[in-house]
């Protein structure tokens, strides 16, 4: 039985719609740029949002949502209602989801990935990045042509790579502190 991971789809869809409204408005307001992935001036958005350029880039990529205060500031800057910037038109709903942007995964496999990933939350402080990494694993797995045993091995290797990475980073940071 295959089901859609609906909660993740909802969240991704919401953030993607927000980023589409944001980038479209910025381009209309003359802040387009061919140098960034979403075609807008990231530095300007970072300035208005009082955040790093990396975070501003994540807003435009649909990977993060700003706080209410920041949404208010962006909405004033782009001269739209904050509510519209955040939620869009009322008729915009899940019915408009493009099936190319959905994931289908066996619930047992999703459960396996989440259980295996759980210890990672204790060894990293950067939770959004970890969640992004886990989403990457899930997305990648859904496209692999392999038997169940191979897929589980890939999941294990991917998650082990994260555990090793965070331990290595912690060791490096500890060494720096000692020096």
């Amino acid at each position: 039985m295959v089901i859609m991971a609906e909660a993740q789809v909802d969240r991704q869809h919401f953030m993607r719609r927000f980023s589409e409204r944001l980038t479209e408005l910025m381009q209309q307001a003359g802040f387009g740029s061919q140098r960034s992935q979403m075609g807008v001036k990231i530095a300007k958005l970072a300035e208005v949002s009082c955040c790093s350029q990396q975070m501003a880039r994540r807003y435009t990529l649909g990977e993060a949502l700003p706080s209410i205060e920041v949404i208010d500031a962006i909405a004033k800057w782009l001269q739209v209602a904050p509510g519209w910037l955040l939620f869009g038109d009322p008729e915009e709903g899940l019915a408009t989801i493009d099936c190319h942007h959905t994931m289908r995964i066996l619930p047992e496999l999703l459960e396996y990935i989440l259980l295996k990933s759980a210890p990672l939350f204790y060894i990293t402080k950067d939770i959004p990045e970890l969640v992004h990494f886990i989403m990457d694993i899930i997305n990648d797995i859904t496209h692999i042509d392999a038997d169940e045993k191979s897929i589980l091995k890939i999941v294990d290797m991917s998650i082990n790579s994260a555990a090793r990475f965070h331990v290595d980073n912690k060791d490096a940071n500890d060494q720096k502190k000692r020096k």
């Binding site: 992935q37 990231i42 190319h100 990648d140 692999i144 042509d145 890939i154 290797m157 991917s158 990475f165």
Partner: protein, 208 residues
């Protein structure tokens, strides 16, 4: 993950190629975070062929490489085979340069582009000190004239590929113990060798 050692077109897959693809995934993701967003890039891959023709690959979207290998499509693909396309030039993913059947080409496009919602992909092969490096990129951008946009930014894409190679080189070292992979400074000199200033003084020029 059963893996048999394959030798095709003088290329030999590293015995652990699929494990290598996933074992360093978190590190690759970290490097990608520094690149993501520049020039609309949504994917980067790196294939390294040493002088013994042994191939290792790293990727931010490893399902592409995994499926190409498991479906025996890797030998005729520009992400793996440096003899497809010209050095330091783009090989566009949709182009059928290996005389593949329509079915094979469609399968290739599905694995590389459609599965991952990429609108365009391209690879660049570089040869240095007996090594072949192949940088592969893909984008999800729907901006018009995307191919022309990349064509004008080829040197920048090569620089991004060099950065990725430089970042991955320490991880690659154990997989090619008999051959020292190219130093990054050699790559930079290759990129910049055609760009120099000419100082003209009293109608006599000298290079600076």
């Amino acid at each position: 993950m059963p893996m048999t050692r394959k030798k095709e077109n003088n290329l030999l897959l590293h015995a652990d190629i699929l494990n290598i693809l996933y074992e360093h995934r978190r590190f690759v993701a970290k490097i990608y975070r520094d690149i993501m967003g520049f020039y609309n890039i949504s994917h980067i891959g790196l294939s390294i062929v040493n002088p013994a023709h042994e191939l290792v690959v790293f990727s931010t979207t490893p399902n592409i490489e995994y499926n190409l290998i498991s479906n025996q499509l890797w030998t005729q693909d520009c992400c793996f085979n440096p003899s497809i396309g010209q050095s330091n030039k783009f090989s566009w993913w949709g182009d059928n340069t290996s005389n593949l059947s329509d079915n094979q080409q469609n399968h290739l496009n599905k694995i590389k582009l459609l599965n991952n919602n990429f609108t365009l992909g391209m690879s660049i092969a570089r040869n240095l000190q007996g090594f072949d490096l192949i940088y592969s990129f893909a984008s999800k951008s729907k901006q018009p004239d995307l191919q022309a946009y990349y064509a004008t930014n080829l040197p920048r894409l090569i620089e991004i590929g060099d950065f990725f190679y430089k970042s991955m080189r320490p991880l690659y070292l154990p997989y090619s113990p008999s051959f020292e992979p190219p130093d990054v400074r050699a790559l930079l000199s290759l990129v910049h060798q055609k760009h120099y200033l000419r100082l003209v003084v009293d109608n006599e020029s000298c290079h600076v």
